[in-house]
């Protein structure tokens, strides 16, 4: 990296220090201090109390199950998206990210409406087969939690893996084929090893997200299936026991960070140059003979369709119902001035605020994340995995802890930037950039270093080589990162709730406000607004990117 590159990096890390590490340090110091004295009693209590041990065990267990199911659902999707062409594919691909932005409280509602004991699916099955009771009792237990986590996270697997898959140089595969290697053997021995970094990257993200999941677990599992997050929430928000709360935050962080570190080591050792100049060839899905492969894809398509569309359709249906009749009154309520107190502002302003924050947070986090990804993928410094793990920290720290840290260190601390739009943008950017790093890094690692060396030997500067050679080659990754960055910002709620002031509201905060005000129909309508706004934005981002055909 050039000197100006390092300078930029130092500025970035300094900024991070002010808005993230400083507030976090303020909180974590509490783990070791009681009334000004230093102690380890909090940590000792957390790792010896049977309840907290139970929380830790259960949190890891459900995160492992959720990651496996997300992979199982997302991987075939990635295969279809990267190997086949079909009408509406680009739009479909844009829409796969929609579940990801939905506030947990809305997903939980969608799941209850669709998969619930009295939900659409069970009622349809009861009517169809004349059953006496609901056959599909899956919610309010571990399977319900895992299923909802897969709904959220399978799209990550799909997008991240398919982006890498499309970048694979088909020459190796073709060579093996010409030597008579069968398709399954080729998948296992050639394709999977080359996809390993992307699969690992996606799994790590899913694991961390589900490890830190809070409202989904509470709503679909209930208190009996509590995770570490619930423990932290109870300590810092209900009991105001900052000492024990900080100790639990520290334990949670250590687990997620050491997992992150471990996977970075593994990923680093797996990285192989994969990207060729020639993209993967794609086959039209609806042409050609119907064989086993296409039949399986059809079955997968139907199941995935029901799984992803069901809960969202249920929310849309719910938004169009009031007093047991079909109506648009929920939407009319949303725009009528009578309901403005629920939002503290008008619905239009709420949508605008969300879009502005989302766009700005993306604009800030995308170059920052790319630069950091560039740094960690190019440096050979000792301890670079530790550095990267630390740079990933905002992703590995729970939303409850971040909200609490921002409250102690930003809203209330000497900086005191709470309440402004700028504060929310900064908070979002900090929460988002590690995601950008995660998506971009494997793509950068996969680049053939000779390409840059060739450009350099022909006299271009390092910067020039980055702009002209590397940037075009990582465009797919950048697009995925942009979409998810925007999505993360649109769906973010916990930090926003802490930093906002009345009159400044985002869509998820408005959904939450309407729900707690018993306006369930209007809340569903607002959730539909969120779905619509993000869906349109994703399609627009995909269209705006030049050479979209390859993306």
């Amino acid at each position: 990296m050039t000197r100006s590159g390092y300078l930029l990096l130092v500025v970035l890390v300094g900024l991070l220090g002010v808005v993230f590490y400083y507030p976090l340090a303020v909180v974590l110091r509490g783990a070791f201090a009681v009334d000004g004295r230093w102690t380890l009693s909090g940590l000792a209590q957390v790792i010896s109390d049977p309840y907290y041990l139970h929380l830790i065990r259960f949190t890891i267990l459900q995160a492992v199950y959720s990651t496996l199911l997300s992979l199982a659902i997302g991987f075939p999707g990635a295969y279809v998206l990267s190997r086949y062409n079909f009408p509406g594919k680009r739009t479909l691909r844009s829409l796969t990210v929609v579940p990801f932005v939905l506030p947990a409280i809305v997903v939980a509602l969608g799941f209850i409406l669709f998969f619930g004991n009295n939900g659409y699916l069970n009622r349809a099955l009861v009517d169809l087969f004349h059953l006496s009771g609901p056959p599909f009792r899956i919610l309010y237990s571990l399977p319900g939690i895992v299923l909802a986590h897969a709904f959220y996270n399978a799209p990550i697997v799909m997008r991240v893996v398919s982006a890498a898959w499309e970048g694979l140089d088909p020459a190796i595969d073709e060579a093996a084929m010409s030597l008579g290697t069968g398709p399954i053997r080729r998948l296992v021995t050639i394709t999977l090893p080359r996809l390993a970094p992307a699969i690992l990257s996606a799994s790590a993200l899913v694991f961390v997200f589900t490890f830190l999941s809070f409202p989904i677990v509470l709503t679909l599992g209930g208190a009996r299936y509590a995770t570490i997050e619930v423990g932290i929430y109870t300590l810092v928000r209900t009991l105001l026991d900052y000492h024990l709360g900080a100790a639990l935050i520290l334990v949670e962080m250590m687990i997620s960070l050491s997992f992150t570190y471990l996977y970075l080591r593994v990923e680093g050792s797996l990285a192989v140059a994969t990207a060729g100049l020639k993209g993967q060839e794609r086959v039209p899905l609806f042409a050609g003979p119907v064989r086993l492969g296409r039949a399986l894809i059809a079955i997968y398509g139907i199941l995935a369709g029901v799984f992803f569309i069901g809960p969202i359709a249920a929310i849309i249906a719910d938004s169009l119902r009031a007093a047991d009749a079909w109506t648009v009154s929920n939407y009319l309520q949303l725009v009528s001035s009578r309901y403005s107190p629920f939002l503290g502002t008008s619905p239009i302003a709420t949508v605008r605020t969300s879009l502005i924050i989302g766009a700005l947070a993306t604009v800030v986090s995308l170059p920052a994340g790319t630069l950091i990804a560039f740094f960690v993928s190019r440096t050979r410094a000792i301890g670079r995995w530790a550095i990267e793990a630390l740079l990933m920290a905002p992703l590995a720290v729970s939303s409850v802890a971040i909200g609490f840290a921002m409250l102690r260190g930003l809203a209330a601390g000497p900086l005191r930037i709470g309440g402004t739009l700028a504060a929310i943008v900064v908070a979002h950017a900090v929460l988002i950039y590690p995601f950008v790093v995660r998506v971009i890094r494997p793509v950068l690692e996969g680049l053939d270093p000779h390409l840059v060396e060739a450009a350099r030997s022909l006299g271009s500067s390092r910067w020039r080589a980055f702009i002209d050679v590397e940037l075009p080659l990582i465009k797919r990754g950048l697009l995925v990162a942009t979409v998810f960055a925007f999505a993360l910002s649109m769906g973010e709620m916990s930090a926003t709730l802490i930093l906002m002031r009345p009159g400044l509201s985002t869509i998820p905060v408005a959904v939450y406000g309407l729900l707690s005000a018993r306006q369930f129909g209007a809340a569903s309508a607002m959730a539909v607004v969120l779905i619509a706004v993000t869906a349109i934005s994703f399609v627009a981002i995909d269209r705006l990117s030049k050479e979209g055909e390859n993306v």
Binding site: Y140, V230, L239, L360
Partner: protein
């Protein structure tokens, strides 16, 4: 090039909207409160009434529920950056309020309307925290799924197998309603017996939700016919013109009392205005809005309640409540024992 200009315009627009609120005018009274008071309580009417009478601005600040707002207030106070003049919450959200030394003491001389608040509401050691409304946590049932004759006659009946998977309650750690229910079981079965009760209803509980809203959503979407909720639910349905499908009832004539209060924050620079604000909140004019907006009983006994309340709002024959001092001293132990039992299945 065009796209860059758009990005630039977006950035400028965002910066402008971030700076715009910095323009200030009159004296400002900052009220820290819980979200539902702002979203559907009498907040707007109260603000209008007070601003026109006292020529100042009222700003509501909320960080979510009462507990969340309290932790924000305490964090800001510790950092010396709080501009809160008043704080409002459910008292059980803040049982250790006395230990924080948060409020200015208030008397009837400061707040004349306090004279109309009955003694049993103010008797608790609330130290400057003035009650302005109250209600009861009871059970609510779906009359299309459960017969009135089949309702549980006492809390203990909930353990019966005919209620398997039929009860929804709220998490006492995240929800005020859930915490009141936990206190109810402690008041009913004693510190030695409440955990046995919770073990006995394990099969009856469909789910313990994060908050009351999620619970209500499960009830109204037919997932479970019994919910821990408010004794005014039937009255709310009646006021809303609904068909009274969801009805509150007090098993064994019991219910747990919930009281909401407001206090003047120590160190405020607007003590007189803040005290006057409490007096307006306790005036019959604002108090008569409480039943229809907060769906609670007004603390001022001169305030009249709508006819639906006389017909449908339940006042339990045997209301239960524990002293705030006891709750403050024991809540950590109670909650931790509860969470250990509930997750250990």
């Amino acid at each position: 090039m065009k796209r860059r200009i758009w990005v630039l315009i977006l950035v400028i627009a965002a910066l402008a909207s971030a700076i715009a609120p910095l323009v200030v005018a009159r004296e400002k009274l900052v009220v820290y409160t819980y979200d539902s008071f702002v979203s559907w309580g009498p907040a707007a009417a109260l603000k209008d009434a007070f601003e026109s009478a006292y020529d100042c601005d009222v700003e509501y600040v909320t960080a979510g529920g009462g507990k969340a707002t309290l932790s924000r207030l305490l964090a800001e106070r510790d950092a010396g950056t709080s501009d809160a003049d008043l704080f409002m919450a459910e008292i059980n959200d803040v049982p250790r309020i006395a230990t924080y030394d948060l409020f200015m003491p208030l008397t009837v001389e400061d707040v004349p309307n306090l004279a109309y608040v009955p003694n049993d509401l103010t008797a608790d050691s609330m130290g400057g925290f003035v009650p302005y409304e109250y209600g009861y946590i009871t059970l609510t049932y779906d009359s299309q799924a459960l017969d009135e004759q089949a309702l549980p006659q006492t809390l203990s009946d909930l353990a019966d197998s005919r209620f398997a998977g039929k009860l929804v309650c709220e998490d006492p750690r995240t929800s005020s309603t859930g915490f009141s229910f936990l206190l109810w079981t402690i008041a009913r079965f004693g510190e030695d017996g409440y955990l046995d009760f919770w073990r006995s209803i394990d099969k009856s509980l469909l789910v313990i939700t994060q908050g009351w809203s999620e619970g209500w959503s499960l009830l109204t979407h037919g997932e479970a016919p019994l919910l821990v909720s408010f004794s005014t639910d039937t009255a709310y349905e009646a006021l809303d013109g609904d068909d009274l499908r969801y009805r509150a009832f007090a098993p064994g004539g019991e219910g747990y009392r919930t009281v909401y209060g407001v206090g003047v924050v120590n160190g405020t620079t607007h003590a007189d205005l803040a005290t006057a604000f409490i007096n307006v909140l306790l005036s019959t004019e604002i108090q008569e809005l409480i039943p229809t907006t907060e769906v609670m009983f007004p603390a001022n006994e001169n305030a009249s309640v709508p006819a639906a309340y006389a017909d449908y709002a339940i006042i339990p024959d045997h209301p239960l409540s524990l002293s705030l001092d006891l709750v403050g001293a024991k809540m950590d132990t109670w909650l931790h024992d509860w969470e250990t039992v509930i997750t250990n299945r």
